[in-house]
Amino acid sequence: MYESHSLQASHNSHETNGTYENYGTNVKTATELNDELLSSLAPPSRRWYLLVFLLGAVVAWGLAAFTWQVTHGMYVTGKNRPVMWALYITGFVFWVGLSHSGTMVSAILRLSQANWRRPILRAAEAMTVFSITVAGLFPLIHLGRNWIFYYLIPYPNQRGLWPNFRSALLWDVTAITSYIIGSSLFLYLGMLPDLALVRDRSQGWRRTLYTILAMGWRGTAREWVIYQKASTLMAALIIPVAVSVHSIVAWDFAVTVVPGWHSTIFPPYFVIGAILSGVAAVITLMIIIRKAFRLEEYLTPLHFDNMGKLLLVISLLWAYAYFVEVQTTWYAHEPIEWEVFSFMSGRYTPQLLIMLLGNALLPITAMCFKRLRRSIGMMLVVSLLVNVAMFIERFLIIVPSLSHKNMPFVWGSYHPSLVEVSVNLGALAGFALLYTLFAKLFPIVAISDVRELEERQAEVRLGRARLSSIAGKD
């Protein structure tokens, strides 16, 4: 096991090494660390069961709404001609966007060796897996004939037909499947040493579960070398997949001839938006997890400070992309393109203002100040508002363009129906439910990664050489 490395982290050695920024508070022994970080796996309390029950009830409500839609027909949604895509596809794009959190925080920060990522990377990676899973359901929910969804899957069939790979929807199917598989592997691989750790400390069915999942991990030097290589490789591989996923989602719109959709800026604009909502969602989750599992020592204001800086940069990028999109359209003033924008800003003025406030004005101004970045309350407000604004942004991209297409005689409008709202709420609750269960079953803070950092902090510098101090209680 990893504990056998037993690298002592004495306060003295830490202090001699002033060049290392301290992201935890005190350097702890392995036993202390394990005990604290694995306390989240303790038998659930009544409040936990209550939470699961509530979330389960909302999911059941969403499922009932979906069943109602399947048994009655698409008329139970608010869609019509010309607005044939609406809240479901908004949900789809939004959840795909959220799934960029894990990649951003974990993979990019891993490759750039930002050590402050360590306590939050598991939370972010798990969020990626669950949000992309939820996102993947939306295209199926929105089908007119959901029961033959398998027509979209390429497999030898009696119809003698291969699906149409010229369709952006097939690119979606491919990209999302790859991303679900890739991000699950990424999460799982990163969890291997922790699973072994939990295996050694658990009993009963849990022990059986972790034994299977840990795949015989023993923590030998060779295993660690392979593990490090594989994790770095996975991190490098998952980034292009993540970028391609949201570019492809953007192409669902950009490759059409719908005014307001047909725009070359869409793929980078969507990727930036995705990372923006992903980073904001990680901040929200950090706050929740910190509170729920009492991780104040591991998720310090310094982490929020760094995430705030990241949010500031991405928010500036988003504002730039949005400005470029609108400015080009405004300058060209092509009648039908401009019609879409003027309809959108007229009909959806409050939404547009919330979007601009939440995605640009508030994060850009607030995140400039260190005090606000380190204030948990402020970070919660900003991060929640960013995601509300991102949902609105997706909606404002999809619905107004369809409402006012090329033929003025069939211009229309859209009002969300109860069924659509219910399914979207069910998806949100489903995501939260998956997350709650995951956090109870698996270590939500990456113990081995945190320990690795502690180990580095315990290094002693002697001239040019760096030595680990190896002496301690365990």
């Binding site: 027909g73 008329y75 869609k79 019509n80 089908l143 007119g144």
Partner: protein, 237 residues
């Protein structure tokens, strides 16, 4: 435009200077093609099923007001935006230059409906029923579409099929005017002319060369098979 493998390239010319906006074509289309019967509510929700609609525009200020009519049906584009976006090939191009729609393949992504600039694709939001005795009128030549399926004008492909079969039986090409869709057949003003655009001597081909011709949203490069004729001048308004 790809080179067509068929001797036929079906097309239509609609003379807007002749159209009176009577709506007979809409009724004929509904009767011919088993188009779902929509309640008032369904239509007010923007979910009517008409494959062919007459767009009505008012021009000028009262009392000097003129009305303009524009019958819009599937334009059977040769570079149709609806076709490549369908993930299951339900929307496809047939050798005669028609945009086919295969109902049994359609899973209802409605992507084609979004990408159709003419907004002529209609989606079965409701399960449609034909109250008695209207059910007796259902044509056996045509599928009755279930809910969740996209549908649209086919240029009455069942009539084209029959004409081609008859012509093949007699070992001759389909004659000009031998086949026409229900709308063109019904139009009292003879504003709609249907035929083979690949035959330069056909009536539709001759009309399509008229200096009054134009195509809808031509700038999008969809290459529609439907030509509209419209003169200048007040008297034609």
């Amino acid at each position: 435009m790809e080179k067509l493998t068929s001797p036929y390239k079906w097309g239509m010319v609609i003379d807007l200077d002749r159209c009176t906006g009577c709506g007979a074509c809409v009724v004929a289309c509904q009767a011919e093609n088993n188009v779902g019967i929509c309640e008032k509510q369904e239509i007010s929700e923007g979910r009517n099923m008409h494959w062919l609609r007459i767009e009505r525009f008012w021009v000028g200020e009262y009392p000097d007001v003129r009305v303009r009519f524009l019958p819009v049906l599937c334009q059977h584009c040769h570079d149709a935006p609806c076709e490549p976006v369908c993930p299951v090939y339900a929307s496809y191009h047939n050798p005669d230059g028609l945009n086919g729609q295969i109902y049994s393949r359609c899973v209802g992504t409605r992507y084609c409906g979004n990408n159709c600039p003419y907004a002529v694709r209609v989606f079965n939001f409701y399960p449609h029923e034909w109250p008695k005795p209207l059910d007796n009128q259902l044509s056996p030549d045509i599928t009755v579409r279930s809910r969740g399926v996209m549908e649209k004008c086919t240029f009455c492909v069942q009539r084209i099929r029959r004409a081609k079969e008859e012509a093949k039986g007699e070992d001759r090409p389909v004659r000009d005017g031998e086949v026409q869709p229900a709308c063109a057949q019904t139009c009292p003003a003879e504003a709609m002319v249907f035929g083979n655009l690949a035959d330069p001597r056909s009536r539709v081909a001759r009309l399509s060369r008229s200096p009054r011709r134009f195509k809808l949203l031509e700038h999008l490069g969809t290459h529609p098979s439907v030509y509209y004729l419209k003169g200048g001048g007040r008297e034609h308004v």
